[in-house]
Symmetry: D2
Subunit: 396 residues, 4 copies
Amino acid sequence: MSAPEDRPELGIAVVGHSFMGAVHSHAWRTVDHVGRPRFRTRRRVLAGRDAGRAAAAAAQFGWDEGVGDWRALLERDDVHVVDILTPGDSHAEIAIAALEAGKHVICEKPLAKTVEEAERMTAAAEAAAARGVRSMVAFNYRQVPAVGLARQLVAAGRLGTVRQVRAVYLQDWIVDEEFPLTWRLQADRAGAGSLGDIGSHIIDAAQFITGQRLVSVSGTTETFVKQRPLPAAEAGVGTGLSATASTEMGEVTVDDAAVFFGRGDGGALMTFEATRMALGRKNGMKIEVNGSAGSVAFDFESMNELWFYDGTVPAPENGFRRIFATEPEHPGVANWWPAGHGLGYDHPFVHELQEFLSAIADGRDPAPSFAEGLQVQRVLEAVQRSADNDSVRTPV
Amino acid sequence: MSAPEDRPELGIAVVGHSFMGAVHSHAWRTVDHVGRPRFRTRRRVLAGRDAGRAAAAAAQFGWDEGVGDWRALLERDDVHVVDILTPGDSHAEIAIAALEAGKHVICEKPLAKTVEEAERMTAAAEAAAARGVRSMVAFNYRQVPAVGLARQLVAAGRLGTVRQVRAVYLQDWIVDEEFPLTWRLQADRAGAGSLGDIGSHIIDAAQFITGQRLVSVSGTTETFVKQRPLPAAEAGVGTGLSATASTEMGEVTVDDAAVFFGRGDGGALMTFEATRMALGRKNGMKIEVNGSAGSVAFDFESMNELWFYDGTVPAPENGFRRIFATEPEHPGVANWWPAGHGLGYDHPFVHELQEFLSAIADGRDPAPSFAEGLQVQRVLEAVQRSADNDSVRTPV
Amino acid sequence: MSAPEDRPELGIAVVGHSFMGAVHSHAWRTVDHVGRPRFRTRRRVLAGRDAGRAAAAAAQFGWDEGVGDWRALLERDDVHVVDILTPGDSHAEIAIAALEAGKHVICEKPLAKTVEEAERMTAAAEAAAARGVRSMVAFNYRQVPAVGLARQLVAAGRLGTVRQVRAVYLQDWIVDEEFPLTWRLQADRAGAGSLGDIGSHIIDAAQFITGQRLVSVSGTTETFVKQRPLPAAEAGVGTGLSATASTEMGEVTVDDAAVFFGRGDGGALMTFEATRMALGRKNGMKIEVNGSAGSVAFDFESMNELWFYDGTVPAPENGFRRIFATEPEHPGVANWWPAGHGLGYDHPFVHELQEFLSAIADGRDPAPSFAEGLQVQRVLEAVQRSADNDSVRTPV
Amino acid sequence: MSAPEDRPELGIAVVGHSFMGAVHSHAWRTVDHVGRPRFRTRRRVLAGRDAGRAAAAAAQFGWDEGVGDWRALLERDDVHVVDILTPGDSHAEIAIAALEAGKHVICEKPLAKTVEEAERMTAAAEAAAARGVRSMVAFNYRQVPAVGLARQLVAAGRLGTVRQVRAVYLQDWIVDEEFPLTWRLQADRAGAGSLGDIGSHIIDAAQFITGQRLVSVSGTTETFVKQRPLPAAEAGVGTGLSATASTEMGEVTVDDAAVFFGRGDGGALMTFEATRMALGRKNGMKIEVNGSAGSVAFDFESMNELWFYDGTVPAPENGFRRIFATEPEHPGVANWWPAGHGLGYDHPFVHELQEFLSAIADGRDPAPSFAEGLQVQRVLEAVQRSADNDSVRTPV
């Protein structure tokens, strides 16, 4: 016996099939079964740059078919959503075309290579929204339950006035000077280095949690390893960040590390560091927020925990408390496992799709919108301008 | 374009649809897309005790259909695997019938309510194996990459002679005296209390990691809360351990906590504690192993970490090192995410299915076998006998 | 200009000058200057077994003189306090003689080699108390601020009914099979092995924190390394546990590890493990207490922290909180440093002397008394009897 | 019997008797008994601003006498060492006078209120050194064994090329807006706020560990609370940072928080934050150093631990290792307690005095010298200039 199904169905397409392709595909396979989204979804098509490899990836990741050109998606009536997972240099073109073709769009971060592109994307998103077509930029760390809880505590006034934020994103996957020059290390493909790739995450997280937007920044960047071997030709379906080196060398055109500080529009003093050279730190996205009444601290390497210091507790029995953010009341958790049975890297991507589908059903814009993605892009650009100008304070 | 598919397909059935139903369904939905198992799998049917609720659960969790009686599975040619997720009192009947019907069986732990049942199940499994029909008991914690790494380190001699093990499994979900008397608190349904439910996990983990089997034990059990409200009638599809109380009271017939120690056949001294009354500990399955040359420590609340002390490192620069068990070389990880992007509670269930499918393809018994489940059952029973006999040392 | 001093002075003598001699001497040098004890103290004399080495130790540790025989102290009018730091086999003789000579006595733990000795010491202490002469057994871990805070929380009802205790004391200094057979490994000198030496600490701590006394126990012990080299002749003034091996071998007559569980007189189920073979654990004295309303956890390797779970906090924002036990309100802290400026291993010894001096001034018995030391001795003996009798439950 | 004593004796004087007076006095009382310094020391005189309070403090802290004017020390033949613990505005005057009077000087940090003062002090120190008179600035965190170990690992090449440093010093003792305007919050007394008080510590620690000196910085500062109650009149002998408020208000003239980044002369990118507003962080002096071959991390709230990531260990078994820096081989530890028996806030002050006394005996300058203190002062001043100039990169 089968239960009747009367929810409308959305046909989904993804563009891209490496690391993010694997993660988003897992999320699309899962989202139907966690809670009850208001749409059923069907994984119609995976687009790549090569038809054969796209077909293999589609089979691997559970899509009906693979195609070698994302433009093919625009014509199809059975595709209602385009999920963009490509390097940053193609976001603007794909997203704008998809929105104009009436497809809802979810796009990986950072939104674009440049502020100018992000502005065009945002304009396209706003035009599309007027026609009921939705768009979202995929800052997945917002969807970590512990991060959502942090935002709730700030919003509820539990931290008082937010005065300080310190956020770092520490990775180490390019410490080895022989690690090859993949697209993430090429300015013309990725747009930016660690600043754009992972710095954008902590900018968004800091603004998301505190509700404050950065209004000025001072920063600097560094490329410790100036030359790297070019990568060997790509092959197969990869799910990670690893790569194989060839013997030819090329110039690294993005930063290895970026540091900056700035002020929020609510007066908070915020510090940031994004680096892929912090040996031993694998995915150390950490953020601490101090307010006049409380503090919170988060480290993605222990992603199910939020540390909360409630300043109203008497000093002799106060301390940071380790909230295991796996209770049903925590954002996104209710439809998963019992308390204490933690989530992993991929679960927040399901929450992201839940938000996306809910917003479509509600007829509202999902969060974060392209406009929010644009604002992050403006921060990135201001940091770069500051870095190019002796770190002088630069308005966003 | 679609890639050609020539792997044979197995039809899967699950029996049960509460907490374990949700988790196993997620794993079955996922296993096809993580690496390339040698079978494709199709989620044919979910069996419950009520046809309507089974149909709803099937729709929710992604099965083709739901049925109200597991016996219906035995006849079906399109079902090759039966995955048993029911309370312990029905494991023996279902598993033996399924094996006799030629279905491969994976059965939740603890294997059975009694040693006698487990012996019959093991006999059935061995008879079935002779016909190429496979069976496995689902000790999921073995499949946590950090736990698998611990076993690898012991097996490679990195710990030297294993001398001590301390294992605890700490939960707190029945601390509230008003928590109702669900099936897990009824001896005739669950077979045992915390000793069987979670004690079985740490017995298996200790033996798995060390390669030593317990040969004698001394223990005691305690029921701190002797009476609880009966549960309100069940409704809907739940994924957790929570429940609603009625106003009628009933007697708790299982233990709230069990503690015991014992000796391994390799001479190790091992201590165990299983409790659902450790307020603040949500799923604190922790194990530490000390050998003559090294130590490892694991805590499921930080499930992506294995702490390893390598005694060969000079003292002034030695210390427990926090291995983030998310490297591609770690057991089960290669097909997931990049290093540092941790897994959650559910991913090891995928690894479990990978082992199950590989063993079927290889024509070998998966691990852990019913025989291993039986041995754990014998330990549980020896602990209970010791507890009933002034904690005197009792052979397994 | 000097401030006038009108507090009475006590002359102090210590017996013993190895590890505990160094620590107690530091505490005696310090106690006058932390807060304002009601007695001034003068470090009169250090007694050893060899006059020359005692004189060297006295000079090193800051005593007026050194003597080669503790009996010399009994006659001296300028000695009011005898602090006994010798191996356990001489505690009874020295303590009883000192008490009979009218000296206040503080004696290292465990109180004695046997229950019979401890009984005689307690009788002597009680007779002395009737004459205003005080005695104390030196369970220093009670004096750790975080441990004192744990007791306060239990006493204030913040944990509700205490249901479970798990206490371990993990060291690794004899893992190396070539570590020599020092007095601590000889039953006739030390009385007991890890059970007596460090097991006594966690028994006392568990009873101190919970206010419950153990009434029955089941245990076992193990000597993993049966033979060790005899130590080379002692030389110089040592402050630690290290030693040099000779080439001759001897039999180890104490346990390397002991594990046991038991019941408190308030119904708590308690587990214990004492071992010197937990490779990588240097001084891992850890205790966790779970009650119906809260839990606390402590680890001496992070001795300034108490972890407290207050069950009355709503679940979504609850978690173990790390109380940094360095606030002025915490037991013993007020006269030390500002919050966050942690204490070390030696500071609780100062607190111990503060309690000792306060009790003398108050005309009351200090805590813990010899009677408490005797009760711990009875627990140790019951564990040993249980271990000798197939771990059967044995009344204390 | 007393051991003969033939070491020369130094007469010691301290100037100041609040928090640092308590800590240094404890260290001076202790240093004679930890190892065997080449000088005996006698605690001759404590100088304050009020003779009566100085006498009381002298009695409390164990000095022969107290005097109301530090100038009295200069004439005394029995004073060989002057230890300066006063607010920063008097360092220069006292230190220069003492050096000119032929006294060895140890001076609390930051060295002075201004670079100009620090330059005069350094000139005086260098002139004095030519006459065999020694001087030292008291950066106590250098003396933490874990910090010393970090430096050793860098110096031994275990981290390879140091590329990044992130250092924060987080306190929260002035979060409360009613906390009074003590001297540490007054620019004319303290010289600087958190930047000078605690920022100076992390600048020194970063340079000490890495061996690199900051050559340029960009920074900003913030005073979140602009007005505070004036303190009530001081009374008694205090050992901490606490204070009592009056009803009158005054303007806060120092920063509450300072953030900056900079470059080391070896190319490292370093970030710094000093704040007294990080609610819940009591004394969170944390530093992490990433090199091409390894990383270290330290947090003073767990001061006995150094976390070391050795990049040469194969990835699948690598991780940050928690070195418990209590082994006899660790800097400063050998004369304290056995491994695992941790030190506290005060012990490094003893190490500092050991270095000071050793240097006097050796006829060399102790480390850190006044010249090093001057260089830190120059960094502080460059940060302030950058902060006053839109955070523009400013050479040191």
